[in-house]
Amino acid sequence: MSGAADKGIGAPLPRKEDYRFLTGQGRYLDDVAVPGALHAHFVRSPHAHARIVGIDVAAARKAPGVVAVVTGRELAEWTTPLRMAPPIEGLQPVEMATLPTDKVRFVGDPVACIVARDRYLAEDAAELVEVAYEPLTPVPDVARALAPGAPLVDETLASNLVSHQAFTAGDPARRFAEAAAVVEASFHQHRQTHAPIETRGCCAVWDAGRAHLTLHIGSQVPHPLRTTLARRLRLAESQVTVISPDIGGGFGQKIALYREELTVAALARALKRPVRWREDRGENLLAASHAREDSARTRVAVDRDGRILALELEIVEDFGAYCFYPANYLARVVAMILTGPYRVSDYAFSVKVALTNKCGNGPMRAPMAITSWIMEGTIEAIARRLGLDPVEVRRTNMLRASELPYAMPTGEVLEDVTPRETLEHALAAFDLAGFRARQREDRARGIHRGLGICCVVESTTYGSAFYKAAGIAGSGHEAGWVKIEPSGAVNASVGLMASGQGYETAFAQVVGDVLSVDPGAVRIHLGNTDTAPYGMGSRGARGGTAGGSVLFLAAQALRDKVLAIAAALLGLNSSGELRLAEAKVQRRLGGEWTETGLSLADIAHVAYLDPLRLPQGMEPGLEAHKAYDPPPMTYSNATHLCEAVVDVRTGGVRLARYLVVEDCGTVLNQQIVTGQQHGAIAMGIGGVLLEEVVYDEDGQNRSGSFADYLLATAVEIPPIEVISRHTPNRRTPTGSKGMAEGGVMGAIGAVMSAVNDALAPFGVVAERQPLTPPYIRSLLRGKV
C-alpha cells in the first residue's frame, strides 16, 4: 500500500468526525430545524394486558394548540400492518397493527397520538385522552407464558410459544450413555435495554406537490427502513427519502421501523405538515425495545479427563409482546455458534421463544451475548465436577491451529481464528501463577478474589449464506461507491450508517490507502438514501468487513481506471508499471519509481472534461459502484480475563483488573477498534452488575428512569487492557474479520467466572444475572 501509508489501513488516526462533536456542532435529529413542524406525543397503556373498550379523544382534540389526535383506527386506514412470517420451520406467523385497537399488550403500548404546536401542549392534551380498559390476566414471565391454559398474548396464536426449533448432530444419546460423567449447568440472563443516550425520534416532512416523504431519523439501516416505510404507507420506494443525521448511540435499538415512527410519517402525510417526535427517557426504557432475558440449561457428557463427548442445550427466551424481528432471530444464533472454540461433534439444541406482556425484544449489541457465558460456564462446571483445573479443561477441548478449518456440529465453519493463542497469551500477560498466590494469601485474610476467564468466538460479519442456513430472512451484502470528482476531490458512500463507529475516518483510510490520497481529503457520505447505495446498514459487527471491503473493492476498480487513463496519456500499452503515490502517478523505470508528472487531478480533469483523450471505448467520468457479499460468516476471537473482589459480607463486587487479548483480523484503525472493545466490555460489565429491566407480578415495569435502570459510570468500569494479536482472514479483501460485539460476550462470561472463582471456597455457584449484592448474599447466607 503506497502513498499515505502512515494514514492508510491500520493507522491509529484520530477521528475526522470528532471536531463537530467536541464543539457542539454535531447534527443529531433534534438539531435538524424544520420550520413549522408539529410535535407528536403518544398516549400509552398503563396496563400490561387489557382489552381496549373505547378511546375518547374529544376533549384532547379541543385542547390548546392541538392539531390532531388519532388512534389505531385512523392508522389502520393510512398504513398496512407489519406481517412477520418468514418461511422458517417452527416459527409462528404474526401480524402487528400500527397502533392497537383491540387490546394492549404491555405497559407503554401506544394507543393514541396527539399532534400539537409544541411538545408541552401535546403532553398536556394526552392527559385528556380517556381510554377505557378491561384488564386481562397478564403473562409476566416465560413460565406462566408456557403453562397450560395460559392467557394468550397474541390471540391469533394457539399458544405463547411463538417459535421452537430443535436440532441434533451426531448421536448425543449414545455419547451420554458412554460418558464417565454427565454434568449439568444452568444460566439465567435478565432483561436489559439498549439505552442509547439519545432516545428515539424522527421528523417527517410530506411534500404534497411532489408527493414525496422525507423522514429524518437516526437509523442504523436507512435503506431497509425506507423499504419497510414505503410499503407500510403504500408509497413507491421512489417516493420516500430517509435521511439519518448523526446518531447518539444505537446498539441495535435503531434498526426496526417502530410503530411511533410510522405513525408520525403517516400523520405528516395526512396533515400535510411536518411532524416531529422525540420520546422521553421513560418511554425509551419502557417502550422502545428490550433485549436478552433468556434461560439456558446445558448437559454435557465427558470422559475422565474432561473431554467433551456430547453437548445439549436448551434455551428459552422471553421475547416480550411484539415481534419486530422473527422471534427465532436472536436465540437461534446462540445455539448455532455455542460450541465456539471447542471441539464438539455430537450436539443437540432446543430453542424456544415465548411471548409475554413486556416490551418486545430486539437485537442489542451482541444479540448472542449469552453464548460465551453458557459455554465457558459449562466448561467450568465440568472442572468443578471432576476436580480439574478449568484452564486445563479448556486446553483439552480447545481447537488447535492444525484442526482448522473446523466444521462446528451445526455446519458453521470456523477458520482463521486463534483461540489457543489468545488464551495462552492472556494467561501469560496476566501472570496466572502470581494471581493464584495472591488469591490464597488474601483468602486467609478474608479477602475473596476471583479470576474469570472467557474465551470468545464472535460471529461478526454475516454473509447471505449464513442467513439462509440459519433460517433468518435477509441479505449480508453491502454496497458502496467511490467517485473522484473533476478537481481530484474524493467522495465515497456506503449503505451503512454510523452511530459512533468512526466510519468517516476508517473508511476514508481505506479509500485513501487504495487511491494514495490523504484520508483527510476523502469524504464519506452516510445516511441519505438518495445519495448512498442500497446497503443492509449497520448491525452485528459487519461495518469494517462488509462496508470496508466494498469500498476497498470500489476504490481498487477506480484506481485501475485511473492508471489505465494514465497509461493512455503516457502512450503506454499497459498500466502494469504504473502506480499511484501521494495522489500522483508514478512509473517504474529500471526498478525505480519515478514521477510521470501526472497527478490524480490531471487524470480526473481528462476523465470528465477532456474525454476524447480517454482510451478507446472508455466511459467518461471517474466513479465505481460495487456490491460485496462476505463469506457465510467471519469470526473474530478473544480471551477475556477479569479479576473481581467479592465482599462476602455485603455481596458487593469490585472489578480490580480487566484484560483482553483479541484477534479480529486486519484492522482499519486500531484506535477505533480498541475503543469499540472498551465500549462492548463496559456494556457487558454494566449488564452483569447493574442494569436490569424489572417487571413485577402484574407486569408493571419498575425500571422507567435512570434512577432505576442503572447504567455503569466511570467508577464501576475498571481500566481495560487491550492486547492485539491480529491475524488476517484469508477470504475477505482486506483480511478484516469484524468486531465490536464480542466484548459484551466476553465480559458477561469473564465477570461471572471471576465471581464464581471468588465464591468457590463457599461451595456456591452464581447462575443468575445480574450479580446484585442481594443475590450474592442470598447465595452466601449461612455460609459466611
Binding site: 470528532d18 471536531y19 464543539t23 447534527r27 448523526d246 465500549g679
Partner: protein, 161 residues
C-alpha cells in the same frame, strides 16, 4: 398552558430577549429559542449529564432548571468553548485519546471536566473517575475519557507552569 413571560437570558456573553412560558426547561430554551443545539438532552431527570452547562461558572443540569430561573445569571454552553476555533485542553485530549464515539454525551463531559480541572489541577485517576461519574457514556466504557482528562490535566499544569 401558562402565560408566557418576557425574560432576558445571558448566554455565552450574549443577551437573548425571549418570551417563554415559565414551565419551559432551560435546556429546551437554549436549544430551541437560542439555537444552541450543542447542549443535548438525554434523560430530562438530571442523571445522564448530557445537558450540563455552566451556571455562573459552575456545572449545572439545564434539564433541571427552568429558563426563567436563569435570569440574572451567566449561562455558558459548549458553543463558547473553542469559540475561536481552538480546541480546549479537554477537547483536544478527547480527540487525541479517542475519548468519544457517538458524541452525544461529549458536550456535557467537556463542560463538566473543564470546570472541574480548573479547581482540581492535579487529579488522580480515581478522582477523575469520581468526577466523571455524573456523566453517562454508553459508547466508550470511559477508559479513553479518563485517559484524556489525565492528559488534559497534565497539559494544563504544563502550560500554567
Amino acid at each position: 398552558m401558562s402565560e408566557s413571560v418576557p425574560i432576558v437570558l445571558r448566554v455565552n456573553g450574549e443577551e437573548h430577549r425571549l418570551l417563554v412560558e415559565p414551565r419551559r426547561l432551560l435546556s429546551d430554551v437554549l436549544r430551541e429559542d437560542c439555537g444552541l443545539t450543542g447542549t443535548h438532552v438525554g434523560c430530562e431527570h438530571g442523571v445522564c449529564g448530557a445537558c450540563t452547562v455552566l451556571f455562573d461558572g459552575r456545572p449545572a443540569r439545564s434539564c433541571l432548571l427552568y429558563a426563567v430561573q436563569a435570569q440574572g445569571h451567566e449561562v455558558t454552553t459548549i458553543e463558547a468553548v473553542a469559540a475561536e476555533g481552538r480546541l480546549s485542553a479537554v477537547q483536544q485530549a478527547l480527540h487525541e485519546a479517542h475519548g468519544l464515539q457517538c458524541g452525544f454525551c461529549t458536550p456535557g463531559i467537556v463542560i463538566t471536566m473543564e470546570a472541574w480541572l480548573a479547581e482540581n489541577p492535579n487529579p488522580s485517576e480515581a478522582e477523575i473517575r469520581e468526577a466523571l461519574s455524573g456523566n453517562l457514556c454508553r459508547c466508550t466504557g470511559y477508559h479513553n475519557i479518563v485517559a484524556a482528562i489525565a492528559k488534559a490535566a497534565a497539559r494544563r499544569a504544563g502550560s500554567a507552569a
